[in-house]
């Protein structure tokens, strides 16, 4: 039995779960490789057009057979609207900024021992008070699920000390812990229920066919809809038709993922930013990329702007040079600009170590004094046409410079196998970063610099440079006033050593019918974020 890296697997599972609702089925959207076209069209090129709303009610897709339990998070279709039924301990808004309606204050001197104060005026939909015991219970149970464990694995212990105070201890200092506590709150004891009691804006009706306004919800008066109807369209083509005919009113689409589904044009498309980072990784034992100059050359060989705007589905990428989202205040645009796409510079850097050494017309490089013909093995997971297109573009750029590179489109199993055995020089990777942007686990080496035992089985970079994890630890442990500085140290070190080269962050599409919804601002975890600020027009 192969051991796969838990975090990467979890990240991929989350993606699959979230979007399996739009399952791959018989339809695939036009591949991202087409680039340039302003809209994707589905159904063999038949353009879809928005029609008059078929009904005057607001409906969303769901799975009546599936669980509604947001902590267990087992049903992707129903997870899309968890926030309509449940509150969240903390949230991150569309700009990755922290917020909460539950916690009134929190303190920590060392970022290891934390104390949180909870509002005392909140009630569940059954009328019982929401207390710190329920919050602690929700975080504790979420920590044991595969869905949440990635962001909560640093939590050592959590307990409620009274009805309005709970405390957390962590395995290492992380001043951004609150941002990781994006966990739905269920009533204590309800973990095994398929519909736990919640405190969100809506409740499921008796027949489980609609969401009704929760009269006890603190913003009940501000909600835009009294009822949200649930429709069961499990099949992808059914779902598309249902959306086309306005039988459901909002859908999401991941044009970069495995389940890329084209929806019609003439709808309103909004984007939600995600912390899913695409990057280039190196085998640091590779004869080509053990050399820092060839790695740094690669930084200039990535046309991030084109990849983000065209290859990730139209505008479904946000180009990033540094390993943090450009929307984050940590991102230093001016420093990043120094690493802009510059094939001439890439070529001159390559040429400083690579030349036609044996006059055979092809380029070679000297590796410990031995002439080595260039033949770079670049691997990409072939399940995503967008990733293939991006990797292909980078490959073309290299080949144009005479840097012989072959792109291998591998199945997920083959891809992991190649990473584990080191049978690659360069890889196209994707990782979902947490709210603290921590990606130090990518560099962890068991027994050398691992922070959490058993977390990460393989270090694909094959490096033992502990400076990364030290710089990440310093960044995570930094108080807010020093966070920016610590992140710059980290980012400059990453760019100086060129161990990993960020490409872009993914965005997802949120589709609605023109004119139906305004005020919609989705976040990566919450399609219905702040629904009380929506305006819905069904006429």
């Amino acid at each position: 039995m192969k051991k796969y890296p838990a975090k990467l697997i979890t990240a991929l599972l989350i993606l699959a779960l979230l979007f399996s609702a739009c399952s791959q089925a018989e339809l695939t959207g036009k591949s991202g490789a087409s680039g340039g076209s302003e809209e994707t069209d589905a159904l063999q090129g038949t353009p879809l057009t928005a029609r008059e709303p078929a009904d005057h009610v607001f409906s969303i897709n769901y799975d009546p057979e599936g669980s509604f339990n947001p902590v267990r998070a087992e049903n992707a279709a129903n997870m899309q609207f968890w926030s309509l039924l449940y509150d969240c301990v903390f949230y991150q808004d569309q700009n990755f900024e922290l917020g909460t309606e539950i916690v009134t204050s929190w303190t920590s001197d060392d970022y290891i021992w934390w104390v949180f104060n909870v509002r005392t005026d909140l009630v569940f939909s059954d009328g019982t008070p929401l207390t710190a015991h329920d919050v602690a219970y929700s975080i504790q149970t979420a920590k044991n699920t595969s869905y949440y464990s990635g962001r909560l694995d640093l939590i050592y212990g959590i307990s409620a000390m009274s009805d309005d105070v709970f405390a957390i201890t962590t395995a290492y200092a992380d001043s951004m812990l609150p941002a990781l506590l994006t966990v739905p709150i269920i009533k204590r004891g309800d973990y095994y229920e398929d519909y736990p009691v919640g405190s969100g804006p809506y409740v499921l009706n008796e027949t489980r066919t609609a969401l009704e306004k929760n009269p006890l919800y603190r913003h009940a008066d501000e909600l835009p809809l009294d009822t949200i109807y649930l429709k069961d369209y499990t099949d992808t083509s059914e779902r598309i038709t249902a959306f086309e005919e306005s039988r459901i009113d909002v859908v999401t689409n991941d044009p970069t993922g495995m389940y890329n589904v084209g929806y019609g044009s003439s709808n309103e498309i909004r984007y939600m930013d995600t912390s899913n980072l695409h990057f280039l990784g190196f085998n640091l034992l590779s004869k080509y990329f053990s050399n820092i100059r060839t790695r740094s050359a690669m930084a200039y060989a990535i046309d991030r702007a084109t990849i983000a705007a065209e290859l990730m589905g139209t505008d479904c990428g946000v180009a990033a040079v540094l390993p943090v989202h450009p929307k984050s205040p940590l991102y230093d645009e001016s420093y990043a600009a120094n690493y802009a796409y510059n094939p001439k510079r890439a070529e001159s850097l390559f040429r400083s170590v690579i030349d036609d050494l044996d006059n055979d017309g092809a380029l070679e490089m000297l590796v410990t004094g031995i002439v080595v013909e260039l033949n770079i093995k670049f691997i990409v997971n072939g399940d995503s046409s967008a990733k293939i297109a991006a990797a292909q573009q980078i490959t073309d750029c290299l080949n144009e410079m005479g840097i012989t590179t072959h792109l291998y489109e591998l199945s997920w199993e083959e891809y992991i196998e190649a990473l584990e055995t080191g049978d690659y020089d360069l890889y196209y990777g994707e990782v979902r970063l947490g709210a603290d942007w921590d990606m130090s686990y990518l560099y962890e080496v068991p027994g050398i610099n691992e922070r959490l035992k058993g977390e990460w089985e393989q270090n694909y970079f094959r490096t033992q440079d502990t400076t990364y994890t030290e710089l990440y630890a310093a960044f995570l442990a930094a108080p807010e006033t020093e966070r920016y500085e610590r992140f710059q140290e980290l980012a400059h070190y990453i760019m100086d050593t060129a161990i990993i080269l960020p490409i872009c962050f993914e965005r997802r599409q949120v589709l609605t019918h023109r004119g139906v919804v305004s005020g919609l601002v989705a976040t990566q975890f919450d399609l219905f974020f702040n629904i009380k600020d929506w305006n819905v027009n069904l006429n």
Binding site: I292, S296, N338, S348, G369, D496
Partner: protein, 268 residues
Amino acid sequence: MEWTEHTAPEGPVFLTAATIPYRHGFSTRFGGVSTGDLASLYLGEHREDAPENVRENYRRFGAAVGFDPARMVFTRQVHGNAVRTVTAKDIHALMTPVPYDADGIVTAEPDLALLCFTADCVPVLLADGKQGVVAAVHCGWRSSVGDILKNTLDAMRALGARPEDVAAAIGPSIGFCCFEVGPEVAAGVETYLRGDTAGLTRPSPNGEGKVYLDLREANRRRLVQLGLDPQKIAVSRACTMCRPDKYWSYRVVGQRRGTMAAAIVISE
């Protein structure tokens, strides 16, 4: 952190060392306006770029570090061991002939920016924060084995500096990873350091008695021999030859190159 890398609002990416008590900075290639082979922070004056670009680059670097480009002193660097003590009378306007040769300059005058230029060679900034004396030294291997650091400290002492109060920053330059030299250089370093050369060289696979030399460490040892407190010496780990995209490297890009500047100014 001994070294901090800054991105100035004006653009330049530059490094400072925690040991130095005054405004100072070591430039990189990043953050100027020059383009093509000279991109982008090109701080040369008699090469290919347009004078207005060079002036803008100096303006940016001056603004980033905190000195007035109208109050700079620099010399024609000749890989010798001459050190000159300078004052405001030595202020040098850009694009005018450089009046004299020297690889080290020393001053006790506030608000006078001393600059030295390197591309692989080792830039060394020295500062006595108590007596208010600073120096900028261009240490190629010839200047190094010519004991320019001793000459510099002598000049600083003449202005009242005391070695135990002098802090140093040894900037980005060609590293132990890349600096291959002939046997004559290794012999020179042996004499220079009076035999204290353990670990300073390793053999090169290219034969002919060639070795890799850790010139930065050699100069650090010399400063300790001259009476500096090892705690007050910051040594950069950045190798110019490994990263010719970020630093100017003579050995990588040859003649068509710019130079990095190391600047220091006695400031409040």
